[in-house]
Symmetry: D2
Subunit: 390 residues, 4 copies
């Protein structure tokens, strides 16, 4: 509102810096809008690109003072940690390859972290970050934001209350068609880094979108993977990384499932669909229709629950911003992740104790599990799709 940090009803706004997300980035802008959506934080610093020019340009567009722009993120971590008005947390929105190093240096400098997924390229790195965050007593959110939709949270609550009984079968998929042709050869930026092992790590499709399947199912069901068997294919010419993956799973409770992720499913845009069947009922959720949830109880008709109605459980309803039938979308899901994180961070900074509910955002432990999932899939596929313990 006014110069510098302002006093809101709840005290000054939290401040953050961003790594990555320079002009032209898709997800950087989503993070920025989501972080400020509820008026609880504001951006104060940034290192938006490996290109200093891009960082300067992005900073200028965002109205940041030049002394809060940095050529590299290590410098930023150190300097911001030293400033009295230094950032409260950092948002890491780079391609995958830089997540680990960036997160590590900010944690080391005592700064809380919000990082995109998959959180690192190697399992050990993710575990190290988890360890470090614990040692430093810092919050670490991972933006698996699909799970933060109100109807996904309603689904989780249904499972917790036993509405659908014991889970038997999980069928989930995340299909896209945008890489059916070699878009990366046209210079398209999103395609270029995702299909490049140096930038993306050991997996493209399974890491980029398969990991969302793993998280969303895990989030709703609480099931633990016992073992899996995976087949990854790099459909498309000259592609070193997978663009399609089939995974068959056994869970520790005896449930079974399959996950399918694809970037070559022509006609599909961004079709994350999770279907869960228990002894008493079934639930189905589609990300592209995120405001609805299909539910059926044994012998009953399929019901289409719609966000914003009175029958939605409080655990889902409290994440709902608009009346029924007024669509919420991706920004709002992201904003939900930030909102929980920011509320927890504000309490933490105020010295208040944090409850489990306060900490109910996707975190570094979800991040570790996600990286392990990607690695297990790749390993299984490399071993002739043999079954591996998870």
């Amino acid at each position: 509102m006014i110069e510098g940090k302002q006093t809101a009803g709840r005290g000054p706004l939290l401040t953050f810096g961003m790594i990555g997300g320079g002009t032209g980035s898709f997800i950087g802008d989503v993070h920025r809008k989501a972080a400020v959506f509820d008026g609880k934080s504001q951006m104060a610093a940034g290192c938006f690109s490996r290109s200093w020019e891009t960082t300067l340009e992005t900073g200028r567009q965002l109205g940041l003072p030049e002394d809060r722009l940095y050529k590299d993120f290590t410098e930023m971590a150190v300097k911001e940690a030293e400033r009295e008005d230094g950032i409260d947390f950092v948002v890491i929105a780079t391609p995958n390859y830089a997540h680990y190093k960036a997160a590590k240096v900010f944690l080391e400098n005592g700064i809380h972290v919000v990082c995109d997924k998959p959180v690192t390229q190697r399992v050990e790195e993710a575990e190290e970050l988890a360890q470090l965050a614990a040692e430093k007593d810092l919050l670490f959110a991972v933006t698996y934001s699909y799970s933060q939709c109100p109807m996904v949270r309603h689904a989780r609550e249904m499972v917790r209350r036993g509405d659908i009984g014991d889970i038997r079968v999980v069928v989930a998929e995340y299909s896209q068609g945008w890489l059916a042709e070699e878009l990366e050869k046209t210079g398209q930026r999103q395609a270029a880094w995702r299909t490049d092992p140096d930038m993306a790590g050991i997996s493209n499709c399974t890491g980029d979108i398969g990991s969302h399947i793993e998280h969303t199912v895990s989030y709703i069901t609480g099931l633990e993977i016992d073992s899996l068997c995976a087949r990854l294919d790099a459909f498309g010419e000259d592609r070193p990384l997978d663009t399609n993956s089939h995974v068959m799973l056994k869970f520790t409770n005896g449930a079974v499932g399959n996950y399918w992720a694809s970037q070559v499913a022509v006609g599909r845009d961004n079709s994350l669909i999770v279907r869960i069947y228990g002894t008493k009922g079934g639930i189905e959720w589609e990300q592209e229709a995120q405001n609805y949830l299909k539910v059926a109880m044994v012998d009953g008709p399929v019901q289409i629950l719609s966000r914003g109605n009175g029958y939605v459980y409080p655990e889902g309803a409290e994440w709902s911003r608009l009346p029924s039938g007024h669509p919420e979308g991706l920004y709002e899901s992201f904003a939900n992740t930030y909102n929980t994180f920011l509320t927890a961070l504000a309490k933490k900074l105020a010295g208040e104790p944090l409850t489990d509910k306060d900490l109910d955002f996707p975190n570094i432990h979800d991040g570790v599990r996600g990286v392990r999932y990607v690695h297990k899939c790749v390993e299984s596929s490399q071993k002739d799709s043999s079954w591996l313990k998870f």
Copy 2:
């Protein structure tokens, strides 16, 4: 950042004040988030309620200094006009009854206006505001935001390019079920003011949602209503205003249509659906699935166009924020209205000439037509549903 008064790449952020939208308001919060969504403006003042307590509390929560909070909007208009750092524009998000007076006093004090719809309770008032805005050379946006979805703009461009030929038939509806029972008797705030003639004016349903039908169809097709015949019913006990309306229309080009608006359609949440059939093709759009558009050409299959794909016309695509399959929702539609308005306003304040494209947001003339539509419907219904020239 978004919240702080600072210099963006394009110069200082525009500032606005808000009338209405106190704590607990639905649409006030939508306006606030939408107005700042793209980092082009910030709130600086407010008169959020007839209750000074509510205004104070809302202002505190939003981090506004107390000297920018006002007990009544006239005082606010006058004082803000006097301040060197006074607001650039005002957002009017009250129930209908206050729109006219509030808009008028801000226009008189030289302040640009964004106002919710229906813009006034009487046609003459709307015309007066249009006249006043013209005289004062001020911008006046009316937040008919459904039309600002990218796929609605694509639909408009299809019509303009002649893709569907000459329009013959328009069938549109806006159905909700939330007033099937007398929610207003429970103290529910949204229901209370909408069913109260003092607050809502001569119509509830036709004014609140029927007006969106009129606008969205008009926006896409450019058709002009020649005459109409309407039947309004106040289903529910002790209701002075309509909760359901059927309207049959003839357009000046020879097309015909019907519009149905209802708040007693149990099972419907917020179902604005527009269907337009021409000599060469048909298009269908549903607000609850706003990221898609159904299109069919004579003898061809139905196509489901999805926002974010390459085949979307530039006129729609430029309003798209996210890749295909990543849902945009109501906030983003509202933000589109604000984005156009703010870009135009910045140019205007900078003394640059404004093109038709710059001014391509729903404006006071749309507002006038909308009020006329509501009044014609009420008049027809009162005259035994006889046909009236529009």
Copy 3:
């Protein structure tokens, strides 16, 4: 078996003759298959066309002996009435223009009738047939077969049980796009007779498909039309008859509604949709997804009832032939009409008394009301779409 004259468990098969339905006819074949679907009747005679050649050819294809083929239907009525093994009932599947005369002569000769809709071209004719059938004590079914789907019958039972309370609003439509261009000029047979006043009568669209709206709504709701106001348009070049009609209605119980029928709605195939909203709930049915019914109760989620499940009321379930999820289609709906008619006819011929349930097929009284509906719509439209008492 089904085809041979033999003794079934319930006695000899009933026999029928057909008027119209020569080779190439769409609906004639549907009637023939539906009439024998449940093994209760067999064809024995026919006058399939004004062309004797066509009748001979059709009869030969159907395996009919030549002495049961007739050059005109009057001769057929007289001769079949004289034969000891003469037909039990006649099926009239000609274009509209011949319905009245054919039905009349068979009634006069004491032969039961199944006739397609609209049952006659003039109201007086339909009333005369009703009178005649009553005098002669003959059964007269009219094949408004959409209403004979199990889920439509479930919907009717819901209304009868008061599940959705008092009906307030009915919104129904029947849209097709096949006449967007002048198909009749290409010699397409279905288009040719429907757009020809000599063959179709005073209306094309309203008579051909609008009448299905009227019937289906009436069937489900039992509501009686108090008055209506209609606008009919003959979109397309050189068309004497309507291809689009909008109708606004008031019912005697205070409910209101609108019906839209169109043959120029590009992208729509055969989209009969009926939506009914009461004080307690709403129901929606789409013919193209006839095995399902959407139901919502106040404050509850939308439910998708699926034919064949245990929760379907007996009144609907008894008309269901296949397990849930195994689609039934148009033939089966038609066969339901015939099945009821044939069961009633067998009882009647056996001298058993007929209950209301036995007679629960669309009959000549539905036919009269349908013709009146078409005429009232045309009359209203001709009188500047003024309101007419029904």
Copy 4:
């Protein structure tokens, strides 16, 4: 029409006998109606049950003379083969366990066969039947009728023409929820035999519905399975056979896929869904909406093709009976299988040569492959879900 065999335009009707399908059977009635749907055959004999009483009762209801009813199928095969007016073909609609023996004895007696699927309980049996049919020069249809829907045939033609390029990924499922609880314990007949190894063989779910997945995919794509890995689970209490199966597949052309079959997917009725993605396009088909096909080409919108429209390929259109938007259902799909089989049989009996197109119905070779598929799935699952060559 008249006594005994009648002369249709194309000569006398073919006659058939039925094994199984006694009163109360679901699929027996479907076979009977489908076999006579197009007026090309009639039933003449039957052995409807192991219970003579049931056979007598069923025969009486169907109007069969008692001398054409048989206590066991061997007797029937022998006697019918001896009769001058003996049946032309037999329809086997028993539970799985009797398929092999019944088919064998009719083939041995020179009678053509239509048999339900899975065609036998063991691969060797199916191969023996194939061998026998070849030796005896007899037609053998297997009623995998879902593939006979016009839009499935359109899909096959799309693949054949190369419309979607080289196939990369196949994702198919067949989910039902009816066995989520132990319906077999209530005496429900369909559940009882399917969950009984003596009646069903080594598999319930994979055999009953998984085999339809295998067939439909194979039919559309022509792909050959290279190897597969399966996990079968017998969810439900005291169940010896699977009620859920996940299968991962590699095809010989390099494509991959997964098939999921389930009877415990609460909320699903009969949801066979096949999705096929190639280098140029994707196609998706759902059995419950069998009249439509979703198609997308790279960079184009999803198209919803609707049966009966002019853009449907002749190879699909020729199987279409009704205009667009008038639903066809399961009976019609079954009737398509019979129609092709009967046309071929009539030509064969007339001594005319049969083309590939004449023989284009699911046959014993499809049947063999189907049984092999079920066995490979069971074997893989028993071997810790290891990969097996197909």
